[in-house]
């Protein structure tokens, strides 16, 4: 199975962990394509989003990792088993490629003609999307089987952004869906859906998200193995005319979702104590 990873940055922990997990299960990627960390459009956008101070802080953390006190650490603690080992800490895709010997390229736009040409050269069966641009049809058509995405919510119930938070507020089970990507957001055929049993143990929304990412990486490796053996086929969608798209959640509602999470955790602990 020829696999390519798409990433929002060479420093993406999710992309690094995905590459390591796949390689460990015998599917070393044939390449990884990451967005450039610094291009003028992104920089301008980030200045607007975080302010100049926030951008400086981010750049310092990413570009000078040793500046912080102590040794560099993986931010998502649930990815540490994959990214921290006896050989050091894998904080960029370049460090991962040194270990598993596959090429990494960077680009300003994953949909650009240069990117498409490179991807075609790698001739992937599957592309795994871990972040980056909204993908256009020419890119989606490159892999033999399709572009895989791990959606941090159950499809078709929760489509779009802030899925774990919306799942909590809408009282839909928290979970992930591995699906092929299509031109619309979260509209492609579904490969597998998994409820996330540990949701009630999460301490915060960030903790929930981090655990879901690690869970998604693990399950992607299983899905890739099943695809490799021809043991899995996608389920076409019949929900696309429904209004089930959700958007980035406002902070005030996010606080309510966090309260709900805390409440379910308290109930779980109380249940364990009494039961």
């Amino acid at each position: 199975m020829r696999i390519v990873i798409l990433s929002s940055s060479v420093y993406s922990e999710t992309a690094c962990a995905m590459a390591v997990r796949l390689a460990e299960s015998g599917h070393v990627p044939v390449g990884a394509l990451a967005l450039r960390a610094l291009d003028s459009t992104t920089l301008l956008r980030k200045v607007g989003q975080w302010g100049a101070r926030g951008v400086a802080h981010y750049a310092r953390a990413k570009l000078i990792p040793h500046h912080a006190d102590g040794p560099p650490q993986v931010k998502n603690p649930h990815l540490r088993p994959l990214l921290e080992n006896g050989r050091g800490v894998l904080l960029s895709l370049r460090a991962v490629t040194e270990l598993y010997c596959f090429p990494v390229a960077s680009c300003a736009d994953q949909n650009g003609s240069d990117s498409i040409a490179l991807l075609k050269e790698w001739s992937p069966d599957v592309i795994i999307f871990t972040g980056g641009n909204i993908l256009r049809k020419p890119l989606l058509d490159v892999p033999r089987l399709g572009v895989l995405n791990v959606h941090l919510g159950l499809l078709p119930e929760i489509r779009g952004m802030s899925s774990p938070e919306w799942s909590l507020l809408k009282n839909v089970p928290v979970g992930i869906t591995i699906h092929y990507m299509a031109v619309g957001i979260d509209t492609g055929p579904i490969l597998q859906r998994y409820e996330f049993p540990e949701a009630r143990q999460c301490e915060s929304l960030d903790d929930l998200r981090n655990r879901l990412i690690a869970f998604g990486i693990d399950k992607t490796a299983e899905v890739v193995a099943a695809l490799d053996h021809g043991a899995l086929s996608a389920i076409p969608r019949s929900d696309l005319d429904c209004d089930n798209q959700f958007f980035v959640m406002h902070e005030w509602l996010r606080e309510r979702a966090a309260e709900r999470l805390a409440k379910s955790r308290t109930a779980t602990i109380a249940g364990a104590v009494h039961g």
Binding site: R45, G48, E157, L169, K170, P173, F246, F247, V248, E259
Partner: protein, 438 residues
């Protein structure tokens, strides 16, 4: 505001006249700057700050703007702006122009700002808002024509009765009556209502002499809302049912203008684009009238159109200030008043449907609007809502407008109320998901 501001008023019936009117207005406004050159500094400040914001404001899928100032503080500054805009006659100015300063009092806006003043006083206990509402009401009652109608345009500029302005002022009178139970107020409101019922067309629309450009407009659903409101408050009076019937007749006519795409025909402002302000007027009027009259078909129609705009806002972080048919086209300015009205519509839809996505969109819209309220500056600027963002956009350029403050204050008041009564986290029943892999 029907007439797009008296200075921008299009008295002609074709595009040439509208253009000529715009040019003459621009010249008049420019001479205002020559008379008061000290206005140049705030003008340049505003233009520069909008340009900087346009360059750096985040507008992508994964973020939304976040204001640093709390809603209560912004709400207070909006109301301070409105009270400062109250002229010596008791009426509230239509706008503060960065070129010419405050306009004359504007009866229409004065009328429908009254409910906002009472709402603000109710939640803050600020009696100055009630004093302002009482002064405004006295002034308005003095302007009522023997027929019961109110005239259009700025005070002193137009002696013709106007359907829309009468309806908008009626909203204020109904609220004053609900607050004070004064019989003279109910008499004035009933006279206005009777006039509106009298001149309504058999199909439920209002056209002819009392209508802007003599033609029927779907945004007169705001008039239907006022009549439905009057019907509620006049209770057992003999004409109460007639007001309700007239409101529903108009509602039926407007609902007939909704297209499958959610677009609404019949805004009918010749020489002007379909500004978001007027689209939102249609939606607000239909929604509120539908709620008062218990019409789920009206609420469904508004929900459909509002969802189109919600998707646009969520995916681009921006609502264009004007649209072509079927919400196509777009322009590079946003109409802040229209945005605030959409926030009100989404908040009310959340109340009616419990769909949290409406609340989510409204909260984000309010954040965006809060960031655009200047907290410093001379009276007329501090706490004001500009017509367009950027300030040179086509809708009410270089002006802070009183109805913008009114609608944004309404949105923040609604937001506060809904946040307090939020129950979804505790009460939402669990959804049964489809089967999952293990």
């Amino acid at each position: 505001m029907t007439d797009l501001g008296a200075a921008f008023r299009d008295r002609g019936h074709n595009k040439d006249n509208a253009t000529a009117s715009l040019v003459s207005t621009a010249l008049i406004e420019a001479t205002g700057l020559l008379r008061r050159p000290q206005r140049l500094v705030p003008l340049i400040q505003k233009l520069a700050s909008d340009k900087i914001r346009l360059t750096f404001e985040p507008r992508h899928l994964y973020s939304y703007t976040k204001a640093k100032r709390p809603s209560e503080e912004i709400l207070n500054s909006l109301l301070r702006w409105i009270i400062a805009a109250q002229r010596s006659d008791g009426g509230i100015a239509a706008y503060y122009s960065l070129l010419t300063g405050y306009s004359e009092s504007y009866p229409e806006v004065t009328g429908y700002i009254v409910p906002t003043l009472y709402d603000f006083a109710r939640i803050t206990g600020d009696s100055s808002a009630i004093v302002a509402a009482e002064r405004a009401t006295r002034w308005l009652l003095g302007l009522q024509m023997p027929s019961g109608a109110f005239s259009g345009g700025l005070h002193g500029s137009d002696a013709q009765p106007s359907v829309f302005n009468t309806g908008q002022i009626l909203q204020g009178l109904v609220r004053v009556y609900a607050e004070t139970n004064r019989s003279d107020i109910l008499q004035g409101a009933a006279a206005a209502g009777d006039w509106l019922v009298r001149i309504q067309q058999p199909d439920g629309s209002w056209s002819g002499a009392g209508a802007y450009q003599n033609t029927a407009h779907t945004y007169y659903s705001m008039v239907a809302w006022a009549l439905a409101d009057l019907s509620e408050c006049s209770g057992s009076r003999p004409l109460s049912l007639e007001y309700a019937v007239a409101a529903e007749k108009n509602l039926d006519w407007v609902l007939g203008q909704f297209r499958p795409s959610g677009w609404i025909e019949g805004i009918n402002l010749q020489g002007h684009p379909n500004y978001l302000h007027f689209i939102a007027y249609v939606l607000q009027g239909v929604l509120e009238c539908g709620i008062l009259r218990g019409r789920p078909d009206a609420i469904d129609a508004v929900a459909k159109s509002s969802w189109v705009l919600l998707r646009k806002f969520e995916t681009t972080k921006f609502l264009p200030g004007a649209y072509e048919r079927d919400f196509k086209g777009g322009c590079n300015f946003t109409c802040l008043t229209g945005n605030a009205q959409m926030s009100c519509v989404w908040l009310r839809l959340f109340e009616m449907t419990d769909d949290l996505r409406y609340l989510n969109a409204a909260l984000k819209m309010n954040e965006m609007l809060k960031r655009l309220i200047p907290f410093r500056g001379r009276p007329g600027i501090a706490g004001g809502v500009s017509g367009s963002f950027p300030a040179w956009g086509r809708y009410q350029p270089l002006r802070y407008i009183s109805w913008g403050c009114k609608f944004f204050a309404d949105a923040l008041i609604l937001e506060q109320g809904l946040k307090r009564s939020f129950r979804a986290t505790a009460d939402t029943p669990a959804v049964k998901a489809l089967p999952c892999a293990s």
